[in-house]
Subunit: 266 residues, 2 copies
């Protein structure tokens, strides 16, 4: 279905705008993705938006035309509106000329197949959506099965996380769980849990990694709770030659992930 929207107070505009807010996303079970590049990444991995919102007056574009056709073919909605209204929806002064609404998907642990990959990333209480998206992107790069978000993390469906993931949110596995639930699931099968740690740790280079290896990083300011570290199978430490005793969470996860990749799947 095609639709024109010209008014700022249109209820659809209000709805789309509300998706910037985590509470509303959760209630609606939908999220908004901005920009043709991300929408094209999504389409390439089989995710077609329910609703496509386009600014009028843009240049014609083959990829966009194909996306539009596919949305309509699947019974979705295509909304044409003014650049101003699209800016209002996305909250950006220089809005992308297109945005799409997707259904959120089930992020239950049970949906993950741990045998699908030798490496997994896990993050506990990760608060920064940019770090979260960057970890999804790293998952894609190292061929990890996906990212497991433990306890209260940033929302993987926020615009910032989706953007930082460079589309990896659509291609790598994603799960959300409380710590106890995660640990129960992990111990119900094979899996080595590895923490970056300062306590009782071995050097991260050439540590005895084993597949499937779950690399766990902690909160940006607190790190991992001591009890969580103690529950890990392996604690590894990276050289810290300076004044600080920790790396950015997404950086620590990536340095470890590349080390595990070299060790397990060279």
């Amino acid at each position: 279905m095609r639709k024109h929207i010209t008014g700022f107070s249109n209820p659809t505009v209000k709805y789309l705008r509300s998706l910037r807010d985590k509470k509303h996303r959760r209630r609606a079970g939908q999220f908004l993705v901005e920009g043709l590049r991300l929408l094209e990444d999504a389409r390439a991995s089989g995710h077609v938006p329910r609703t496509l919102v386009m600014a009028e007056g843009r240049e014609p574009h083959d990829l966009l035309a194909r996306l539009e056709a596919e949305v309509l073919a699947r019974g979705g909605e295509v909304i044409a509106t003014s650049p101003d209204i699209l800016s209002k929806i996305t909250g950006k002064d220089n809005a992308q000329s297109v945005a799409g609404v997707f259904d959120e998907w089930d992020t239950a642990l049970a949906r993950l197949d741990r045998s699908a990959a030798p490496i997994w990333l896990a993050a506990q209480a990760l608060r920064d959506p940019g770090n979260l998206g960057t970890m999804l992107r790293t998952c894609d790069a190292v061929g990890a099965g996906g990212l497991i978000l433990i306890d209260d993390c940033a929302d993987p469906f926020s615009a910032e996380a989706v953007r930082a993931s460079m589309g990896a949110v659509f291609t790598v596995g994603l799960a959300q769980a409380r710590w106890e639930e995660f640990l129960g699931w992990l111990r119900g099968g094979e899996g080595q849990l590895v923490a970056a740690s300062l306590r009782d740790a071995v050097p991260y280079r050439a540590a005895p990694y084993a597949a499937p290896c779950f690399i766990l990083v902690g909160n940006e300011s607190q790190g991992l709770p001591e009890a969580y570290e103690a529950a890990c199978d392996l604690r590894v430490t990276m050289p810290m030659r300076g004044r600080a005793d920790s790396l950015n969470a997404a950086v620590a996860g990536a340095v470890l992930a590349y080390e595990v990749l070299a060790s397990l799947a060279p």
Copy 2:
């Protein structure tokens, strides 16, 4: 000197607030750092603010009292104001209860001593201040001499970059230069320039790194210009097992930096 400020329209408030803007920072040659933790990191490495702005009504704090004394001892200014005005200055709803104004320092290449460290990071046209700060933090962690910002990068003195650096902006070397200037400086002495690249590259593990090694990463969306890559002494590639062909810039820099660290200074 101690001063109380109670009015939002006070010229000092306007000045401090203007430091959120790069253009004004440049003109004033000063930048604003928020939060006691960062101010304490700065003090520990010999940087004392010219001006300290504190919200009234906070709990007494030993570290803050010491900092205040040191600012006054060096002829600086201590401003007490309301939490609301401090929020207006920093632009944050939940402002830290203290902020400090520092003089920017000289970031000329000539100030760097390349023999001081085996590893250096360099970034070209890096636009994200969070990535920039994260790279400074990584420099601290791997014992790098510092970060060289090439062409038009984000401002290392922005609040976001300083925060992401976790104080490393005060401890690691920092330089800014155009590409031609950087290359001239580099070739005026010893130094191996290494790029993360997809073209004509060798695997990054166990590549022939040599100190002082300058690790160069490119712009977040464009990567490095081809001519810049061609000017490098070594092009290395990291495994990319997924759909994407690149990592987050700060992540790529860190994975390479840890590899070079293992190779040169194990």
